[in-house]
């Protein structure tokens, strides 16, 4: 450790005043704040692209019968919407948050491996390009669902190979990002910032990073076997050669289920920062929150086959995975209870970050309950692969991960940009998003209970009305996000708006509020001295921040 630590500090002194400008600043970026910004902008671009695909889906489903796209293109839309939102939007957005906030929250000068950080971001660009271009390849984009189940993948055109390559690259990027986060958190905390004093966002990311390192190689294995089945005559999953298509599902979901928690644990971290800040009261159970996060992470490895109840597992298999899945409700409940207990007898105000946090808790819990219902194998037999599942995972991924990300942008955005967002615009964005979200996805529960299968380009007429409502809601939800970009993000990036004070939130605690807004280009170049709770800097070393970018 001692061999690593002094190095970045020396470096910072050498180059503090002459970082590259213009395009070089971004292409050669090694600064965690610049890289964080790029991650966030990249993920927002992918979010909009994935959203346009979703609107294509909803436009086709607005009415029964085929009006806009043919079934083959429809399958491409659902597949690419899923892949892009998971790998292009949600995951990189959280990495962007980690880049910005982890060094600031633990009092480190930067990420541990600055150049690897640069590489892990820039790898995303060719991967994203390949995925977008796949729509224009012969046969169109992959159309086998985001889960790319064998043996349907064997029938796909060359775009399948492009997607596999892109997923490999994004996986490599994720693993590098994770290594960076783990090493930064374990090695670069300021003196006095013990692990159990660390902000929960860092804790959830530390655990998430381990999950990523554990499961991204599993995904890489599954898609590599798919690739060799397609081109090199192997038969891992190809039944025509004695392969086992169900084995693909086991391997995929061994990655896929921890992946679900990869996308929600950092969100828990953001919510755990916002709720105490606006309740002006300490988080009720810090320790149990850490343990609950770790329990969820560990349980996530032993529940994967609940995605496969209809493949025809033996009784014991179904029972084991049902029990294990239901167990996850316990640590998740602990988290919800802790947030509510934190609010209890606080002194609450409801600025936009808090609105998103409360909205998160409320709507995510609905998604949690439908998850519990789906965990019950006998009920899952009815609901598997219906719109109920679609409703469930959008409740946890949109109202969960995405709302937490929005909350985080409003909460830390003033620190990033030095500008306060317009509060009434933030509120419009929140109310518009949560109302349209529910208009879109709540009716899908009914569609699923009534047996409408997912990934259908056309449906029996009895399902029409709920599909109309969902499509109208989706359009509204999409427009709200355009509004968010134009009326909130752009003005902040351009510096339009009231200057943000160093500490814009009365009740917020943590080292990120010990530095000026916007955060100077270099922060904590020398390790700060911390108070007993590791939430404040003692002395003037950090706040002075002599040089500005």
């Amino acid at each position: 450790m001692s061999a690593v630590l002094p190095h970045p500090a020396d470096h910072g002194h050498d180059h503090a005043h002459d970082h590259p400008h213009g395009w070089r600043r971004w292409l050669y970026a090694t600064n965690h704040k610049d890289i964080g910004t790029m991650y966030l902008l990249f993920s927002f671009a992918m979010f909009i692209f994935g959203g346009i695909l979703a609107l294509g889906i909803r436009a086709e489903l607005f009415q029964p019968g085929l009006q806009i796209v043919n079934p083959h293109l429809f399958n491409q839309l659902t597949t690419m919407h899923g892949i892009i939102m998971v790998f292009g939007a949600i995951m990189p957005a959280f990495v962007g948050f980690a880049n910005w906030m982890v060094p600031l929250q633990i009092g480190a000068s930067d990420m541990a491996f600055a150049r690897m950080n640069n590489f892990s971001f820039w790898l995303l660009i060719p991967a994203a390009l390949m995925i977008v271009i796949s729509f224009f390849m012969p046969g169109g984009a992959p159309a086998a669902g985001w889960t790319i189940y064998a043996p349907l993948t064997l029938q796909m055109g060359p775009s399948m190979d492009a997607a596999i390559f892109a997923l490999h690259i994004m996986g490599a990027s994720s693993i590098m990002g994770s290594i960076n986060i783990i090493v930064t958190i374990l090695n670069m905390r300021a003196p006095g910032m013990t692990l159990m004093k660390m902000p929960l966002f860092c804790w959830t990311w530390l655990i998430t990073a381990y999950l990523l390192i554990a499961v991204m190689p599993v995904l890489a294995g599954a898609i590599t076997m798919t690739l060799t089945d397609r081109h090199f005559g192997t038969s891992f999953f190809n039944p025509a050669g004695g392969g086992d298509p169900v084995m693909y599902q086991h391997i995929f979901w061994f990655f896929g289920h921890p992946e679900v928690y990869i996308m929600i644990l950092p969100a828990f971290g953001i919510i755990s920062a916002i709720v105490p800040a606006f309740a002006r009261k300490r988080l009720f159970g810090y320790t149990s929150m850490v343990y609950a996060t770790a329990s969820i992470a560990i349980l996530s490895f032993i529940v994967w086959a609940h995605h496969m109840f209809t493949t025809g597992m033996p009784v014991t298999g179904q029972l084991f995975f049902m029990y294990a899945t239901m167990l996850i409700a316990v640590p998740t409940g602990v988290k919800i209870f802790n947030w509510v207990a934190t609010m209890w007898r606080g002194s609450m105000t409801f600025e936009t970050p808090m609105l998103f946090a409360v909205g998160f808790i409320f709507v995510f819990t609905i998604g949690g309950f439908t998850g519990l219902i789906l965990a019950m194998a006998p009920i899952d037999i009815q609901l598997q692969d219906t719109y109920y599942v679609v409703a469930h995972f959008h409740y946890v991924l949109v109202a969960g991960s995405l709302f937490a990300l929005f909350g985080g942008v409003y909460y830390w955005g003033p620190k990033w940009t030095g500008v306060m967002y317009d509060e009434s615009r933030g509120k419009i964005h929140f109310w518009g998003s949560i109302i349209f979200f529910n208009v879109t996805f709540f009716p899908m529960h009914f569609l699923g209970l009534a047996g409408m299968p997912r990934r259908y380009a056309d449906y029996p007429l009895q399902f029409t009305d709920f599909n109309v409502v969902a499509s109208v809601g989706a359009l509204g939800f999409g427009l709200m996000q355009v509004y968010f970009f134009l009326m909130v993000v752009l003005p902040m990036m351009r510096g339009r708006g009231a200057p943000a004070p160093q500490q814009p939130w009365e009740g917020a605690e943590g080292l990120e509020w010990e530095i000026p807004s916007p955060a100077p280009y270099h922060t904590f170049e020398t390790p700060p001295r911390l108070n007993a709770t590791a939430t404040k800097v003692i002395g003037a070393s950090a706040t002075a921040a002599p040089h500005h970018a």
Binding site: F62, P64, G65, L66, Q67, H72, N75, P151, L152, Q155, P239, G243, D244, P245, R280, K281, F284, G285, S288, T310, T311, G312, V315, L319, M326, A329, P331, G333, V334, F337, V340, A341, M343, W344, R345, T349, F350, V358, T365, F369, L372, A377, P378, I379, I381, Q382, Q384, D385, L449, A450, P453, D458, P460, L461, Q462, T464, D465, F466, V468, V472
Partner: protein, 389 residues
Amino acid sequence: MKALRQTLSRWMLAGGAWCATALAFAAPPVNDLPGGPAVNQLDLHPPVTAIAAEQRWLHYFVLFICLVIFIGVFAVMFYSIFKHRKSRGAKAANFHESTTVEIIWTVIPFLIVIFMALPATKAVVAMKDTSASDITIKATGVQWKWGYDYLKGEGEGINFVSTLDVTHREMSDAGQPKGDDYLLRVDNPLIVPVNKKIRIITTASDVIHAWMVPAFGVKQDAIPGFVRDTWFRAEKTGDFYGQCAELCGKEHAYMPIHVKVLSAEQYTAWVDGEKKKLAAKADDPNKLWSLPELVARGEKVYNANCVQCHQASGKGGGPVKALDGSSVVQDADKTKALAVILKGTDKGMPSWAAMSDTEIAAVTTFTKNHWSNATGQVVQPTEVAAARK
């Protein structure tokens, strides 16, 4: 700002009016489909088997527990949101970290989960018990139709293919769907007797499909290269509908499942009729047919098997080759066309060797003498038999 607000409200009014119009005019008239979905159905299908009833009860049971917890937790949260806000002068308390509380709210949910798991366990065990069935039927998923083979029990030996009604696929393409059983009507429904334990064995010949009938509480993936099973005992006669529930390619939405449950006597009568038809259908492979006879028979074969891809126009589309004007179809060497039908191509045409010699002779003759293909060639069953060698 005021102008902006006015513009916004005008837009919202226009949007609202548009939605209302869409709701009022766009929805084609439709009624509940007994055994299939009801209009704007909010719940699981009315159960027709003990398993489906059990699932529905379990769902109510879990939903009720979830609702109670939901209301409890959010009553507390919203009470807190309204009472403990700064604008009402609330001062923040300073309590945190209580091991007792943490243990309580870990243990109680744990107990609730166990309470929920017990009845579910019973249901899982019952669902998986496929032993001692009266009739065993194999359901084979094929892109994009279901093949049914009666393997054991009354009706043994019967087999047929069940495909979505062609007119429904056309209505879908035209964007003009009509009918209460839109996308659910098939040419040959699966016929089973009431109150008998039916074991369904699923498999597939290309990709994974899933055989589902919500009213029976049954959903089982059909996996190529593997055999899985499920069962149901329908307690009511009538028609029951489901759809393929595992993404299986382009026409995934167009391979419904229709099960007709008959009384024991009706079922026996149906089996007798099918057996007679089977005997009659066994064409004499050495019979010499006339051109019009073969074309008439071939049109039926074409509409049952080929039209999904090659289209009624014979023009195909996308990767599917046109038959109309095709040099292979028109070639004087009949073995060329026969080779494609019997062996398939590596471009996606499957092998149709499972059809009888008569059927292949008929459909080949049909394609050689339909649309602009006026070859006048006749392909006899004996020629197909020769081409098989």
